[in-house]
Amino acid sequence: MNLAVNIGGIFMKNPVATASGTFGYGGEYADFIDLNKLGAIVTKGITLLPRGGNPVPRIVETPSGMLNSIGLENPGVEVVLEKYLPYLRGFDVPVIINIAGDTIDDYVRLAATLEGVQGVSGLEINISCPNVKKGGLAFGSDPESAAEVISEIRGVTALPLIAKLSPNVTSIARVAERVADAGADAVSLINTLTGMSIDIRKRKPVLANIVGGLSGPAIRPVAVRAVWQVYQAVSIPIIGMGGITCARDALEFIMAGATGVAVGMASFVNPRTTIEVLEGIEAFMKENGIEDVAELIGSAHKN
């Protein structure tokens, strides 16, 4: 049975990755799962300089989901390379660094810094964070500026580039087309939907940042649809995510066209979700006599 997939040059032994920002820098979950079993580890989004993030409250639960407005708190690229990467190099798993910036120059400098660093298998370019004032979603919500970020980064690195796309746009397929043209090796989708919640007793937004990003099972139908549409629009591989809690959910994404899947906030609820998703996919393939996971990718388009 073959589970291995190739995400734009990143060889994954199975399709199951972690979603940025929901798995820390890997070690946090090592008590619960064998990291070596993962298809890939995607780190929390990092920036050139350390960031404190937004004020609290930063999260609020919503029906079958949650809003977060972390605001890219991270210790900066230097600390990540010194403190966290050496640990991750100890595992036989591709590490994908998720990067964000306020300006195109920030992205370019980050990418250049990470170029050639041992243990970095690829970059996920976060142009879809709804929780920072500058950069982030501002780039991702316009196909042309999204393409510009990607092509500038492309200029400084040979690392596989995965453009992380936002669902907060009129046409995610159009953004995917443009980043593919600009040199992205793969796309990952979806980042969170912009949302908010109001505390009716205090008569003010719950999150200090007012808006936050909606994730969890609530958004899965939107995410599956996005993967479906992007699969029809581009030929580069897709990492699908948004509300995956079990193998059934992951298979929805794969059948819609995702080559890889990422488990996000479900890890908070059940730290073993990634592994259970993997085991469930294997069980499904066995039951259905499927030899290669490739047979399942995009299969819902054919029926």
């Binding site: 820390g24 639960e61 949650m66």
Partner: protein
């Protein structure tokens, strides 16, 4: 740190809107420290989806029973209160850093506001086990809205600690806040060490009321996602090196902090 399902031994209302639950867990009973908390899944479906952080209230080490004491205030705790003996509880923990234990000669004050008092009992149990000879140096101050809501009065007496009680409405003991009560009773000198659990306004008054030399450890609350330092939702600002401030993450760096280091 464990994530497993443990059998519920009992779960009943102890006073209006407040429940006491015990579950059997060798893992947690053997390893937990006072002040640590558990991240509990109240429902196996996706709504409500997040775990709920609840302190360890007490541990029966002979029977490997772990107790939580909780106030029903929303959907998660509502579902929890409906669970029955024999059902399995999905628990992640023990999490975070607990209280540091007192030194031998210290005069100790424990202070709890409302349901915030929950974790203090596990601490009292440990103090009693390790410092049985000096429990006269320990004073417990508890406050609540009314007399019905004072947590564990009898238990405090039975364990041999001196308890002092305040209620907002004066329905039992002192009328006023637990800090007012403390200031009224404790007129001479300063305790060496204060452990406090409760809402954050209580901590602010405490920072003003207490002697500068007392070491004050408080247990802080914030909305939590992962409980493991991953999601970065549970931030609290603390003093960093020099005059700098930095982010502490309550679930891993706390929930217990040195009150003087917290920047409100």
């Amino acid at each position: 740190m464990f994530n497993s399902k443990y059998e519920i031994e009992e779960n009943y209302q102890v006073f209006p809107g407040h429940y006491l639950m015990a579950f059997k867990s060798l893992d947690i009973a053997r390893t937990a420290l006072p002040g640590q908390f558990l991240h509990i899944r109240c429902y196996q479906g996706t709504e409500p989806i997040l775990r709920r952080p609840l302190s360890i209230h007490s541990i029966n080490k002979e029977k490997n029973l772990v107790y939580i004491l909780y106030r029903v205030c929303g959907r998660g705790t509502g579902l929890l209160s409906g669970m029955k003996a024999g059902e399995m509880l999905d628990v992640l923990g023990p999490l975070g850093n607990g209280f540091t234990m007192p030194k031998n000669d210290e005069k100790i004050v424990l202070m709890g506001g409302g349901i915030g008092a929950a974790p203090l009992f596990f601490l009292l149990e440990e103090i009693k086990t390790h410092f049985d000879k000096r429990i006269d140096k320990v004073s417990v101050f508890l406050g609540a809205a009314n007399s019905d809501l004072i947590v564990g009065k009898e238990k405090i007496n039975k364990m041999g600690f001196s308890g002092y009680y305040a209620t907002d409405d004066g329905s039992s003991g002192f009328k006023g806040t637990v800090i007012d009560l403390f200031e009224t009773i404790w007129t001479e000198g300063s305790p060496d060490r204060i452990y406090a659990c409760g809402p954050s306004p209580m901590f602010r008054s405490l920072a003003e009321a207490a002697d500068k030399n007392a070491r004050i450890e408080v247990s802080v609350e914030e909305h939590m996602g992962c409980g493991l330092g991953v999601c970065l939702s549970c931030v609290c600002k603390v003093a960093g090196p020099g005059t700098s401030t930095e982010n502490a993450h309550i679930c891993v760096d706390g929930p217990v902090f040195d009150l003087r280091k917290i920047i409100f």
